[in-house]
Symmetry: C2
Subunit: 418 residues, 2 copies
DNA sequence: AGAGTTCGTACAGCGCCTAAACATACTCGC
DNA sequence: GCGAGTATGTTTAGGCGCTGTACGAACTCT
């Protein structure tokens, strides 16, 4: 029952190459079998063997262990499809493991429990401007919510395998410290450690910290129903414009964690001055501030989901000024997206944050600009779609992160029962 | 003695997850040991064991095989540094394996032999505009040069483990076919296959095809003396401006091979129209055409290395117009580099192609723009440097590609002696 | 010269995968 | 209804690679 940070899909610091032994072979093949069962639906042992390339014997022993671990269940004999002995179908047990996610943001805290199937089994939110409050107060409150989530998971019979925490700032993954959160006004907060110390119940699982934009992108990758696409960019819109870049199934956070600053791409060199000092940054001509101002919306909060509600109302009734404002933002966004596509040839762009509800109005001008500016657009069509997870992408990503570790090493940790 | 394409560092098509067995353990650990010897200099078996985490016994048997394979050699007993029996140092045998590289470009063909240490042991070039010539004629000539290179390697006692071919166009890695080379006017040429058929001697090793920009970036990564940086962008300047993006030691070619089009990033929306249809593309305000025109250089070829010679002469004598032209290009380039750094937080940018010799004049304005436009520039300084391999980056990358396969699987292929 | 230390190798043991054989369960055809 | 045929799942022997321990070798220090 480990309590420290675990290795896994969310990399820590620099990974030194390690030696391999038979245990790693088992690990790898167990993950292969579980992944096969998880993705290719209910399957018999023999089919899993054929699909993975392993022997039936090997699959047999691995499946036994996975069943013992509670991650896989037999579904009784399937209706026989042809001649020969029919196989017993194996299926992923969605309640075989769960993760707890916590998102701390400027406008509130959200906690959630997500099971192996990626469905949210528990969700609690506490809204309110956190900018004035101390880290201690906020984290105490957040720890309470995690306590509740852990208890809820227990009641649902879900074994909690880890707790993921999403924070809006620069995170030191190795030390698990939030180095800088400009919007919260926090510096060097050991979030994971302090959460644990404030907890009423003791959490029998690791607590892992990461940046919210990164976790949102991972959430989309893991549970967003991405289909076969493992290269995409999640463009998150709010006052700022951020991007989470996933290439070939791997999140790229940049060599120092400063990546994803799509908002400060130059779009209009003669445009307004940005807070970063440059001129014509994308976020000045596609960010929430710009859209609301151009649309003439004044009666709205200046950030978060609620900010777009009045705008959406105007768009729905066809307010020309609002439509023009959003379309203009869409064009600017198109320039940024075109740059991304030119550089990385991602085939999918996902619009999140406030861009998600605005998608119907953003889509067409954005695509038009991309087609005009991207050489390969004709051969390689670009899919642009709104985020399916919406506002909860980061919490879901945070909650699912420990579950990725389980999927990558199904037999490694203890398969404790709730 | 396999003749087909091998798996390895240059990925083919989509890789399905494969099962693992003890042979893979051996492979992995052998690569680990060889990598340790290769990077950490001459080392005794015991030190290798300590460094890798393997047992001395395991290291012993692996080293025996590596020595038998000719990749590692014992260097006799080292001067004892302290108490205890001194160890016998092991070192990488640079001549234990070699790769042949071939670059086919619009202005000529280059072939080279590179050994495991990354040094060029043989080089032959044939200049001349290839745009008018048929694929058959060019490939026949190229095959002859590869024949010569293979013979030269044989004379040097170097066992050739593979042949890499760099071409200026879109490559289908799975089928090993050059789909489209606009500048050569070729479409759907099975370069590898045809080279082999034109060869006089039979090449007892795989022939692998890839795009030249990608191979140049890999060449820089593998043999460019990059130190500890495994995240960088190689910006290649000629008439067009391309980029090879390497993040965390992995080259990103994009989901369909259209990546790296830095040249069509929008830099000046009100700038001149580009051949791609958009306005203000980087390559219009930083490409070779622009620089030569602004500098007033007319007596030069319009592409390739020679094109910059007269420009360099003017720069050397302080011609103001030339200096201003290059500085202006540097500023434009800075905008593109700033975009890259904002998005991916790479810590190093390498200037290749015609940008390499112009580096002294490009550097300062480029850095100034980056500092103005990149939020994190103050915390995370950006290293900009010229390519160390220069014009030969692509050939060297092509030649070294099969050697990466050897390093990744030292015992897999036959260790044939020359 | 002997004690202490480190290096390299030999050997038994264990885990994991493979291959082949075997028991099981169902369809098909008569 | 019953045997032949087929596919599933399990069992068993065998091979391979890593680990831990033991042992000989080589060198320094006292």
């Amino acid at each position: 029952m480990s309590t420290g940070p675990t290795p896994g899909s969310v990399p820590r610091a620099t990974e030194r190459p390690r030696p391999t032994d038979q245990a790693d072979v088992r690990r790898h093949n167990a993950a292969l079998v579980l992944g096969c069962v998880s993705e290719a639906g209910p399957l018999s042992r023999a089919r899993v063997a054929a699909h993975t390339g392993l022997t039936r014997a090997t699959v047999g022993t691995i499946v036994d262990e996975l069943i013992a671990g509670g991650l896989v269940s037999e579904q009784g004999t399937r209706a026989p499809a042809g001649v020969g002995r029919p196989g017993t179908d194996l299926a992923l047990r969605p309640d075989g493991a769960a993760g707890v996610g916590l998102e701390i943001n400027v406008d509130g805290i959200v906690a959630a429990v997500v099971d192996l199937g990626g469905t949210v089994r528990h969700r609690a939110a506490r809204s309110g401007d956190l900018r004035g409050r101390t880290a201690a107060a906020v984290l105490r409150s957040a720890a309470r919510m995690v306590d509740d989530a852990v208890a809820a998971a227990y009641d649902l019979g879900l074994p909690v395998r880890g707790i993921g925490v999403a924070v809006p700032g620069l995170v030191d993954l190795g030390e698990q410290v939030l180095r800088l959160a400009p919007n919260l006004g926090w510096t060097d907060v050991a979030v994971a450690e302090r959460l644990r110390s404030y907890a009423v119940t003791s959490w029998p699982c690791p607590v892992v910290l990461d940046n919210e934009a990164n976790l949102a992108a991972l959430g989309e990758l893991w549970t967003g129903g991405h289909g076969s696409t493992d290269s995409f960019v999640l463009v998150n819109g709010d006052v700022g414009v951020g991007a989470g870049v996933v290439l070939e199934g791997r999140l790229h956070r940049g060599s120092r964690g400063f990546g994803g600053e799509l908002g400060h791409l130059t779009v209009a060199p003669d445009g307004p001055e940005c807070r970063c000092g440059a001129r014509g940054c994308l976020e000045q001509v596609a960010g929430l501030d710009f859209i609301l101002r151009q649309a003439g919306v004044r009666d709205a909060p200046r950030t978060g989901e609620d900010a777009v509600a009045p705008l959406l109302a105007r768009l729905a009734r066809g307010d020309e000024r609002a439509v023009a404002a959003v379309r203009q933002a869409g064009e600017s966004l198109g320039v940024g997206v075109a740059a991304l596509v030119n550089l990385f040839d991602v085939d999918t762009v996902i619009l999140g944050g406030v861009f998600a509800p605005l998608f119907p109005w953003l889509d067409e001008p954005l695509q038009a600009v991309v087609h005009r500016r991207v050489l390969s657009a004709a051969w390689a069509p670009l899919t642009v779609r709104p985020s399916r997870l919406g506002r909860d992408a980061a919490v879901i990503g945070a909650a699912y992160a420990p579950l990725r570790d389980v999927l990558a090493d199904p037999l490694g940790a203890d398969a404790s029962v709730a």
